[in-house]
Assembly symmetry: C2
Homo-oligomer: 472 residues x 2
C-alpha cells in the first residue's frame, strides 16, 4: 500500500485504545501497561537474548553439551535482567543422542513398478530420527515398506506387517484453523506409531512429518515406546519425500526402504531448571511462576521452540523491574529442563513446590512460539474466568483479546495437581508447525516485535494477577 | 513444545467454535462458512496464483513491462477461477522509471571528524530512489549533508539548508502497537520532505526508511512534489546506513553525501484495472466489490504489497463459486491499477461507477499484507456497525474478532464519495513494514495459511453482506 491508508490505521488505533471499564481496571493499570509497553517495545532485551541463545548456544537437547551452555547463558541473562535471585534446580533427565547422521532411501523395483520409471533407482529420503528412538546399527536396515494411513488400517493389515518397515503417511489436517488441533490429531502416529507397528513385527517405522509447511524439512519429536513390544527405530520424513515414497508404493511392485540411524539412549544424567526471582514485598512466600523450556531438539537453534518462551519469561522480570514495579508476591521466571523428551523439569518444579508446601497463585508458560499474541489459555473455573474478563479491555490494545478455558503449557501443567491456576500464552498458530522440531527453527524466522508483544502481554497478566488475584 | 499441549489446543478450538446467536446468524451460515473454509484451506489456489505472479511476472510498477504482463496474468487467473465475466477497465497512469541503478555514499573529512577515524573514507549507502522523484543526472550530486530530525527542526534551521543535501532521520516509532500508526506518523517525511527541503534551497533529500526491520534494506515509496518549489531528487536509506551516516555527522566536521539517480517521469500512459465478475441472480445491476492492487514497486516481487490482496480477491470469487453459492448481487473482484504512485485505478473505477449510476453495496480491499486476519475496518454508521456485530461470532473461528470503524483501502476509498460502504481487511501488522516497498517483499515471506485465512474471511464477509446487507 501507499500512504493513503494511514487514516484507517489511526482510527483503528483509537478504537483499540478506547475507554476501559469494569472490575480491576483503573487508569493506573492502563498507564502502567502503557509504560510496560514502552519499555518492551523500545528498550526490550528479549531479541538480543534470543540472538545469543540461538547463535552462541544453538541446539540444546537434554544432556547435550549445548544444554549446559544454555544453563550458563540463562543464569547470566537473569543477572543482566537484574533478578533479585538466580539459582539452579537440579533434576535427572533422559540422555538421548542421535549418534551421527541419519540416512534413508528407497528403491522401487519389480514388474509392478516398471511403468513408474524408477525401477531399481535409489531415491534419497530427507529424514530425522525421532527422539528416544533406538538405532539400526551401523549397517542399517533394508526391508520392504508397508504404507499405512491410520491405526485402523494397521489393525486391518496387521498380518502384512511382519518383517516390514511401516510408513505412516497420515496427513496433517489443514482444515483446523488452530494448527495445534492438527498436531493433536496427527502426533499419535509419531508418539505411539512405532510400538503399534512393532506389536505386529515391524522392523522399523517412518512417519510423515507433523507439518503443513511448503518445504521438505523433516520434523522430529519424541516417541514413547510401549515396553510390552520390541523397540524399533523410527524417523520422520519430509513432506515432499513422504509423497514421493507414497507415489512409488502406489505404482505397485516391490518398494524397499533403507534406514540407518545411530541413535541410542544413554543413562539418565543431571540437568537443571534455571530460575530467576523478583522478591515479593507483601507475601514473599507466595509465588507466581512464568516460564518457557530451555531444552530444544538438536538439529536446530530452538528459536521458536522454545527460545522465545525463555527470553519472554526473562523479559517479564526485566520489564517489571525496569518499570519500577514492586510485586506483592515473589515472581519466578523458570527456564525448564527437558520439556521435549521427558518433561522432567516441570515435574521436578512441581514436586519441590509440593515438598516445601509453597503457595502458588499462578503458573504461566509460553511454549507456542514467539508470534503475535491472541489469547491466554487458563485453567480457571467459570466464575474466575468471568471475573477476569474485564482485564481483556486492558490487554486488547496489545494483542490479547480472549481468555480461553484450557490448560497450561506442558511444564506448568503439573502445578495444576497442586490446585494452582496454570496458563499458556496462545499466539497466532499458523506458522508454528513450519518450524517446529525442524532444522529451520532459527532466529531468522522470529519477528522481533511479535515476540516482544508476547512478552508484554505476559508481563501485563502477571502484574494483574499479582495485584488483584483471580477472585473467588 | 512436545506433544502434551494438544489438550490445550483441543479445548481452545472448542471455545473458538462455541455456539452462535444473534441476528443474521443461522446454522446454515455457520455451515456455509465451514464449507468455504474447507475449500480455501484444502483446495485453495491463492498461493499458486501468488507464486506465478511473483516468480513469473515479478515487479510491476505502473507503465512498466511487468505491469502489462500482470494484466495478462490477472485475466487468466480470473478465467481459471471460473469468473462469469472477465474484462479490462482502461485508465491513464503515471509512468515513472528508475532509469538505472541508484547509487549513494558519504565522505567524512575535516578536522572535526579527525577523531572519528573515518576522515576522507568513502562509505557506501544502500538506497532506493523514491517513486516520482527526478534524477540527479548521470554525474550525480555531491554536497554537504544537513541532518534533520523533524519539520520543526527544518524550520528552525532553514537558513542552513541552501546548497545542502537534507537527511531526514525521523525514527519509525516502535511504541505504536498498530504499525500503520508508525507509518502514518513517519511517512510525511518521505511524501512531503523533498519539497519542504527544496523550499529552502536543498539540492537533494535522503530519508530514513519507513520501517523498524532488523535489516538494512531501503524502503522506497511515492513522494509528492509541491509545484511551487524546485523538484529535487530524493531517496530512502536503509536503517543501518542511516544510523551510520547520522553517527558520522554527529562526530562533527564536514560530511559530504554523493547521490546519483537516473530516475525520471515519462508522459502518462495507458493501463487497466483487471476485473472478474460473478453475475448476481436477484439484483445483477447491484454490485459488491472486492479487490487488491495489481501494481507494485519495481525492486521486489510485490508479494505482500499487494500480490496477496490480488490473489485473495480472485480466491473470493473462486471459493464462492466452488462452494456453489449463487450471489444475489453481482460480485466484482478488481485488481486495481496504480495504487502505489497515483491511485488512478481506484479513481477510475469510482468515476465509471458514478457515470453509469451503478448501485454498490460494499467495496472491500486487502492491501495490508497476507498475514493472519484480526479485524475488518469498515466505513459504517454506528447503527450499521452495531447491526453487523453478531457476524463476529461467525468469523471468529476463522480469525476476525473485531469490526473497527474506519475507512477502506486506498483503492476503494473513492467509492465512499458515492456513499458506498468501504472496508479493508486488517491482518496482523507486525511484519508488514519489514517488507513494505523493499526488495525483500517476495513470495518466501508469505505464509500460505495466513494468506488463505485472509481470503476466507473476505469471502465470508462478502457472503454475509450479499445475503443480509448492512441493515439500516
Amino acid at each position: 500500500m501507499g500512504y493513503k491508508l494511514l487514516t484507517a490505521g489511526l482510527i483503528l488505533f483509537l478504537v483499540a485504545g478506547k475507554g476501559l471499564e469494569g472490575r480491576s481496571q483503573t487508569a493506573e493499570d492502563s498507564a502502567f501497561l502503557r509504560r510496560l509497553a514502552d519499555i518492551v517495545l523500545t528498550d526490550g532485551k528479549a531479541y538480543e537474548d534470543l540472538r545469543t541463545l540461538t547463535k552462541q548456544v544453538g541446539g540444546r537437547l537434554s544432556g547435550s553439551p549445548g544444554y549446559y551452555k544454555a544453563e550458563v547463558w540463562g543464569q547470566k541473562a537473569f543477572q543482566d535482567a537484574h533478578a533479585d535471585k538466580v539459582w539452579l534446580q537440579e533434576c535427572m533427565v533422559p540422555h538421548w543422542v542421535r549418534g551421527g547422521k541419519d540416512s534413508a532411501s528407497f528403491v522401487a523395483g519389480g514388474a509392478g513398478s516398471s511403468g513408474g520409471g524408477v525401477a531399481g533407482k535409489r531415491t534419497g529420503l530427507d529424514i530425522l530420527t525421532l527422539g528416544n528412538s533406538v538405532g539400526t546399527g551401523a549397517k542399517g536396515i533394508m526391508a520392504p515398506v508397508l504404507l499405512i494411513h491410520s491405526f485402523e488400517e494397521l489393525e486391518q493389515r496387521k498380518d502384512e506387517v511382519k518383517g516390514k518397515i511401516v510408513f505412516y503417511n497420515y496427513v496433517f489436517n489443514p482444515k483446523f484453523v488452530e494448527t495445534f488441533r492438527s498436531y493433536g490429531d496427527a502426533v499419535r502416529y509419531r508418539v505411539f506409531g512405532p510400538s503399534q507397528a512393532a506389536k505386529y513385527g515391524a522392523l522399523a517405522v517412518l512417519v510423515r512429518s507433523m507439518s503443513h509447511s511448503v518445504d521438505n524439512n523433516p520434523h522430529t519429536g519424541a516417541l514413547v515406546y510401549n515396553d510390552s513390544f520390541p523397540k524399533v527405530p523410527a524417523a520422520a520424513v519430509g513432506l515432499y519425500d513422504a509423497d514421493k515414497l507414497a507415489d512409488a508404493i502406489g505404482r505397485g511392485g516391490d518398494v524397499r526402504v533403507f534406514l540407518r540411524t545411530l541413535a541410542r539412549m544413554l543413562p539418565d544424567t543431571v540437568a537443571h531448571n534455571v530460575i530467576g526471582e523478583l522478591k515479593g514485598s507483601l507475601s514473599p512466600e507466595q509465588f507466581i511462576t512464568v516460564g518457557g523450556h530451555l531444552d530444544s531438539w538438536d538439529p536446530a537453534e530452538g528459536a521458536m521452540d522454545d527460545g522465545t518462551g525463555c527470553v519472554q519469561a526473562i523479559e517479564v522480570l526485566r520489564a517489571l523491574k525496569a518499570a519500577g514495579y514492586v510485586p506483592k508476591h515473589t515472581i519466578r521466571a523458570v527456564l525448564f529442563a527437558n520439556e521435549e523428551n521427558g518433561g522432567r523439569g516441570g515435574e521436578k518444579y512441581m514436586e519441590e513446590a509440593k515438598a516445601k508446601g509453597e503457595r502458588h497463585l499462578f503458573a504461566l508458560e509460553s511454549d507456542a512460539g514467539g508470534f503475535t499474541p491472541r489469547s491466554f489459555s487458563l485453567s480457571l473455573s467459570d466464575q474466575q474466568l468471568a471475573a477476569a474478563q474485564p482485564w481483556i479491555r486492558l490487554l486488547q490494545p496489545y494483542g490479547v483479546y480472549e481468555f480461553a478455558k484450557g490448560g497450561g503449557g506442558a511444564d506448568v501443567e503439573p502445578m495444576e495437581k497442586l490446585g494452582v491456576v496454570a496458563g499458556e500464552l496462545r499466539p497466532d498458530s499458523q506458522r508454528y508447525f513450519d518450524y517446529h522440531h525442524s532444522r529451520n527453527d532459527v532466529l531468522e524466522v522470529v519477528n522481533k516485535r511479535e515476540m516482544e508483544l508476547g512478552a508484554l502481554n505476559m508481563a501485563a497478566l502477571i502484574y494483574l494477577v499479582d495485584k488483584y488475584g483471580w477472585g473467588q
